[in-house]
């Protein structure tokens, strides 16, 4: 462990991973090609990460010189990977953002089946949180807004009148075309 000042850089994330409870990758984005040059290194890392964390129930571990924060729910595991020198609390905000935005998109029902059905939106959310290693957005509400949930995904009560009319128009159009 070197005693050194941190570099003033915006690059703080090394990876974001979502895994199921068998250790299989659902979605993973890696941002450091020095540490994870190919898919093989990524898979090895994920395997050891999963073995160390799926039974332990704490929030944070250090593995292979990287700090990994994680959170799990039912049958999903969310990971945020950063360098071991970095500010752990910064990484924690990213983890909360990832988890909370996923939770909002899946309407609080955070489990594998639901995730797979909405995988496209989750992919967009992950893209909104981090851009090649730089944290793009840390507020889950903002992330959900930018992901542009389709009108009929949001329950009727939360939509504005304009949105309801719009979705009604679209449905009418489709039914005529069919």
């Amino acid at each position: 462990m070197e005693c050194s000042l941190l570099e003033p850089t915006l690059y703080t994330l090394k990876g974001l991973i979502i895994m199921d409870n068998d250790g299989n990758r659902i979605l993973a984005k890696y941002f450091d090609s020095n540490i994870f040059p190919t898919s093989k290194e990524q898979k090895t890392f994920e395997k050891s990460l999963f073995t160390r964390t799926h039974r332990a129930n704490s929030e944070i571990i250090m593995l292979d010189g990287l700090t990994c924060l994680y959170k799990s729910n039912v049958d999903l595991f969310f990971y945020v990977i950063g360098s071991s020198n970095d500010n752990e609390l910064l990484l924690l905000t990213v983890l909360h953002c990832l988890y909370d935005s996923t939770s909002q998109i899946l309407r609080k029902n955070v489990e594998k089946r639901n995730l797979m059905e909405n995988l496209d939106v989750i992919m967009l959310a992950m893209d909104e949180i981090c851009d090649e290693g730089i944290i793009l957005e840390a507020d889950p509400a903002q992330v959900c807004q930018r992901v542009a949930l389709r009108s009929d995904d949001i329950p009727i009560g939360e939509q504005t009148v304009a949105q309801v009319i719009q979705s009604a128009k679209e449905q009418l159009r489709w039914s005529i075309l069919k």
Binding site: M1, C3, S4, L5, L6, E7, P8, T9, L10, R25, L27, A28, K29, S39, Q42, K43, A56, N57, S58, E59, I60, I61, M62, L69, N87, E88, L89, L90, L91, L92, T93, K112, R113, M116, E117, L119, D120, V121, M123, L124, D127, D131, E132, I134, I135, L136, E137, A138, D139, Q142, R146, V147, A148, L149, R150, L177
Partner: protein, 685 residues
Amino acid sequence: MNFRREKKEEEESLANPYASLEKTSVLQEARAFNESIINPRKCTLILSKILYLLNQGQTFGTTEATETFFAMTRLFQCKDSVLRRMVYLGIKELSQVSDDVIIVTSSLTKDMTGKDDMYRGGAIRALCTITDNSMLTTLERYLKQAIVDKLPMVSCAALVRAYHLSLGNSELVKRWVSEVQEAVLSENVMVQYHALGVLFQIRKADRLAVTKLVSKLTKSHLKSPFAVTLLIRIAAKLVDEEENPVDSPFFDFLEVCLRHKSEMVIFEAAHAIINLKKVTPREINPAVGVLQLFCSSPKASLRFAAVRTLSKIAIAHPTSVTNCNVDLENLITDTNRSIATFAITTLLKTGAESSIDRLMKQISTFVSEIPDEFKIVVVHAIKSLCLKFPRKHTTLMQFLSSLLRDEGGLDYKAAIADTIITIIEENPEAKELGLSYLCEFIEDCEHTSLAVRILHLVGKEGPKAKQPSKYIRYIYNRVILEQAPVRAAAVSALAQFGAQCPNLLPNILVLLMRSQMDSDDEVRDRATLYYQLLSSSDRSLSTQYILNSLQASVVALEKALGNYLQTPCELPFDIKSIPIGTGATDDVKTGNIHKPKVTEPKKVIQPEGSITEELTKIPQLNRISLGGLFKTCEKLQLTESETEYVVTCNKHIFQKHCVLQVSKTLIQLFFINAFCFLVTISIKS
């Protein structure tokens, strides 16, 4: 059973359209992109399947990627927002592999400057990914506008892409400095963060500009905690360059940040302060105080961050951390094992002599629960503790021996054995106890290399102990019970006892005689050799062959043996032809252990093999048959080391001759007309 499993798989695949995807079938499905009326839901699903495959590590060939890319471009016709955003993702992913990606530039530019706000941010990011540096000048106008756009999403996208660019092509980004400066004053927390990052990148080379930037921003309170953490890092770098950190105008800013409302900022400030190069305990103490508070936080990440930082501080400033000892002791029982290990190692670094007993008791329960690599960390920490407090060796060695009795891998046991050996070497009082612990250990040790090492040590140190005879029992048990290498080592150890303790000699001879019947060649050979040596009344033989063991330098011996085996030779190998080395293995061993002491200036010893080669090159010397080199002594300095040229003398001792090699160590200087005077003094016997 089979039927049920099949049904379950069918259910799963209905629920999970991504299970067992195949690339070819997905690419075929992608033909749907070419339909005249695009169904957004269907196309979104197909696109996400493609992206999922890419994410799983599936590789797309160039043609496949290019075809899919082209098909994707047709999706621009559809105005569905989720689909459009998915297309941006697809462009970013496939742009690495496919050709001719610039065809989408016009569509993306339209989106970027269009009225639909939802698309602009994503379009900017996708556009910058596919555009190479030469084309960027065309986009410059749009990007500059985007940086100061009202929508934070757009502004962030542009700033982040600018940041990526600034690492490679900083000239371009420097032209946008005024827009970036405007963005730093933004209300949005992420915009401010990104803008500060870009601004720092632009100004990085100019120290004065950075100082001005930092002083301006430290006075105006930044709203974004992310931006403040970045500012702390920049300020810390500036403070670090000063002779005395307190002199720097920005040190106060760092201290003020210790009281910020965001924990992330507080931690960043504490981390920065303790990592400054020339910081004194007075400056560290407020930071330590803050970390101490974190230690009792309910959030595991805070505790982890705090204890890890405290562990770092303890290396350089152990006294500052002693206040936190109580909190650290509480953390030993933390559910997160990483935190607990850090707490233990910190306590071991800062522990006072009086607290060692209590600490050992606490650790003993804890150690059994942590994995091997953490255990090794703890053992290393105990080693440094042993060296610091030699009087406590009884407690510490007792603890280490209990660890040896538990389960563990080779590295772990070797680390413990190393520690005990270190204590024995450094502390003569600990020798008896240490040796007895090690002997107990080898009774039950499954690692041969470790047992061999310990036996060698017992052979070396045991005879000098007060009661050598008690070690004999341990050694002899190994001769009967263990594997061949261990038995061989045990026999050698017995011989050491025999050579050094005349009163034990008769018993040793009996034991050696029994070993002569051993099943292994090596063991029998050694036993016979030692038996003969010891039973002959010639003491000089036993001294030469047992006590002083290998007289040749191991390196030169290896080389000579290699040569002998390669060239056919009628004469038997003559070990006397190998020059005496100073024991390469001994140097390695002592070097390992004496690390905590100040390293003595290294004695340079030329490899012996090369000397003989060098000397044979000199024709005058070849005329005298020197014979084999007996020993090369260390270099003798003939001049002082501070002078311009340094002259050294090497003495090479041969059988009947002595060669003095006088050399200078400055290559550029040539001595002309140099004379060498040799004065001999004859000693009248």
